[in-house]
Symmetry: C2
Subunit: 125 residues, 2 copies
Amino acid sequence: MYERKILPHLNCGLDLVGEVLYGKWKIRILWFIHEGHKRPSELLRKIPDVSRRVLNIQLKELEEHELVTRKIYAVMPPKVEYDLTEFGKTLIPIMHTIGLWGDEHQERLKRVILKQFQDNDANEA
Amino acid sequence: MYERKILPHLNCGLDLVGEVLYGKWKIRILWFIHEGHKRPSELLRKIPDVSRRVLNIQLKELEEHELVTRKIYAVMPPKVEYDLTEFGKTLIPIMHTIGLWGDEHQERLKRVILKQFQDNDANEA
DNA sequence: TCATATAGGGAGAAATTTATCCCTATTGTT
DNA sequence: AACAATAGGGATAAATTTCTCCCTATATGA
């Protein structure tokens, strides 16, 4: 496992939120768990771009940050279920607001994000 | 300048938001600009942990993403002012909600974040 | 017997982000 | 003359995150 060398800055609320929500897939993981897709295999199907490895790591971090719980069923094949903790549930309005903003401004966001790549392509040609 | 090699995933609103708000200092930069600290030197003083270099880069990205405008005054020494665009202003409620959550849960967040570092220290000792 | 589904870890590479150090330029101040 | 404040870029290093590939293990079904 990678071990951090630098202590994070924890000066304000935004620093703290960053520490637990930074991570390419974390908000989506939380959101899908909230929607009832609790098993790792389900999450993999819902988020096809994440690798199994990274999903595991981010789930473990979310668990360490007390945003989700992990319940292991003693069955074979293995079954694991994640749930939002009460603390994790307090994030639902935030995730909702963020997702909504992204959906509302979808066209514009796609345009400004892809702009850079088109510039790059033009330079390469 | 670093040039990205991999096209980002833009499957849902959350992907799009991530593309423009990912960046260690971006939300804080936007927030302080919103609060009226518009000049780079002011931002540096408000966010002492960010380096001048990284501030410049993230400001430029925010500008490319049409969240802020950059106004250059033809004076000496140089003067530059950033402002939120109308588009950027639509983020204010989100930034506000996120910061509030962080402040509300400050104690708990600090505890769960620092927990890992204490574990590491223990292992090293 | 062999493939599949389940859950997960280790090692190491690759990509990306952030930080550091050193430049340019101008005006005013000590 | 030397130095600070202003804004910003280039090169490069360091830190961090993400990805890829390859392992373990067990029960079920073909």
